[in-house]
Amino acid sequence: MQLHLEGSNDINSPKQRVYSLLTDPSFISRTLPDAEDVRVLDGASLEAKLKLKVAVVSATMKMKMTVEKTAPPNRASLVAEGTGSGSTMRIRSTFDLSGDAPTTMTWVADAEITGVMAGMGSSLLKGYANKKVAELFSGISKAVEESA
């Protein structure tokens, strides 16, 4: 099952700073919602257990995330892959930065989900994913602004 999400957020911080934080696994590790056992592996990757809940369905996914600095300071990608609770997930997200304090982050995410969660259908999972992604990026924006 495939999901496609997109959106944008404004972050009140210079572009260079936003880019360097968003491509820093240590920074990312501090902003992940519902994460435990977070481990930074090296300058580009981290591991974490993420708790996902869709109504009464809970899944604990062991995820590995890798940052790709595609075109600094304007574009980067994050690839996350993992399994858990009878489901697998692979998400490729790309973000583009424009403007400078405020910096606009425009992002696109494509996810492929198999297993138990896939059976719930993309129309339902998209609703949940939109909520979760909004939380994630709101957290990231706040963390970037507070770290200045």
Partner: protein, 407 residues
């Protein structure tokens, strides 16, 4: 817009024409259906009524879709109301039941049969979502035969006192107002339709009926009337002629339910297509297995056939409403609404059954969207006119009234 709904809107627009304000209603319906997706799922799994249905429809100005614009509604003709219900049907019959009862059975009954004073008093607030209507016809001993209802009334000063039981009433425990049918406690007069304020002292909710096999997000209740007062200003239509009100409301309601069933088929097709093209068994996607393709072909064929039966019934009703004295048009609208409701409710249930089969083991869980449709759509073959009553109506419309089997 959701793609299958977009294709309906495009085709109807191209062949029959849709005005700008009508397209706006359908855009709002599309957004409302998206917005309801998550809460419908959560409440379904909890087996509870979903109050977000009212909240979202109110926020999106969709509580009075077929109500005349002069009373604050969106003024939609039946064809557009049907498209609205089609899109809402993709989220499930729980949403359809709420909307159909409030708009088609409740609000439209007042618009069609009420005095100007009643329309001005009730419809604007109903269209704003400040009122919720229920429709109190069915009783424990009067289902397919509403003429045998036992709820009675006596005159009392400036109004009437109603007493009896009403059963399997959708929106029953959340309604602010109810169209209630009762017969005179003495004499052989026919039933009368009343508009009852549910805050009246003699009205109570006996129990919420939560043991249904599906339709969990719809409120269904058993109600008691024990000397509930209705002022004479709230008789709907003529005293003793309540069954005319009842049957015309059911004509509205049946097209609404049938339209929702089309939406159910659309969602089943979407879910099956997504599942079948991604799930791999025996080294290939199950969509490449011929017996799965047979299910897909059935659902698509059923969907296309029922869509156009519904649109045809809607067009006939719109035609009749332009000339309400033409009894021939009324009879045609009645017949076509019965045909459309009969086929669509069966089509939805069959499609959902086949969709569950395509999902395999996961389809046997209420966490799966197709299981929800399977459980919920079964009621569409029962409420607002059982399959059997629809068959008898259709047959007698062909053979002639003298052959009516249920008189």
């Amino acid at each position: 817009m959701e793609p299958l709904f977009q294709s309906s809107v495009d085709e109807v627009g191209r062949l029959l024409g849709l005005a700008k304000d009508e397209l706006e209603i359908l855009e709002d319906a599309d957004s409302a259906a998206d917005e309801l997706m998550v809460s419908e799922f959560e409440k379904y799994v909890e087996r509870k009524y979903n109050p977000e249905i009212h909240g979202v429809l109110k926020r999106r100005n969709l509580m009075g879709v077929p109500i005349d614009a002069k009373y604050g509604g969106r003024g939609a003709r039946q064809l557009v109301e049907s498209l609205f219900m089609e899109r809402m049907g993709q989220t499930g019959m729980g949403v359809i039941t709420f909307a159909d009862v409030h708009q088609c059975l409740g609000s439209l009954a007042i618009q069609d049969w009420g005095s100007e004073e009643q329309r001005s008093r009730y419809l604007p607030s109903a269209a704003r979502g400040e009122r919720i209507f229920a429709y109190g016809l069915t009783e424990p001993e009067a289902g397919s035969d509403p003429g045998s209802l036992k709820t009675s009334y006596v005159r009392d000063g400036s109004g009437y006192l109603l007493s009896g039981s009403k059963y399997l009433i959708s929106n029953g425990s959340i309604a602010t107002d109810m169209i209630v049918f009762a017969r005179p406690s003495e004499g052989n007069g026919g039933p009368t339709a009343f508009i009852l304020d549910t805050k009246e002292k003699g009205f109570s909710v006996d129990m919420r009926l939560e043991e249904k096999i599906g339709l969990f997000t719809s409120d269904t209740s058993m109600l008691t009337l024990d000397g509930a007062f209705v002022p004479k200003e709230d008789v709907l239509g003529l005293e003793g002629k309540g069954l005319s009100v009842a049957y015309s409301a059911l004509l509205n309601g049946r097209i609404g339910i049938g339209s929702g069933c089309v939406g159910v088929m659309e969602d089943c097709l979407n879910q099956v297509k997504e599942r079948a093209t991604s799930r791999v068994q025996h080294g290939k996607e199950i969509a490449k297995h011929q017996l799965i393709q047979k299910q897909v072909a059935f659902i698509e064929t059923s969907l296309e056939a029922c869509r156009w039966l519904i649109y045809r019934a809607a067009l006939k009703k719109d035609e009749y409403e332009k000339d309400p004295k033409d009894l021939g048009l009324r009879a045609d609208a009645d017949r076509l609404s019965a045909v459309a409701k009969y086929m669509s409710s069966r089509g939805a249930f069959e499609s959902a059954d086949r969709a569950v089969q395509c999902f395999g083991g996961f389809g046997y869980s209420i966490l799966s969207p197709v299981a929800k449709h399977f459980l919920d759509s079964r009621v569409a073959r029962i409420y607002e006119g059982t399959d059997e009553i629809m068959e008898l109506k259709i047959a007698s419309s062909v053979l002639g009234r003298e052959f009516e089997a249920y008189r």
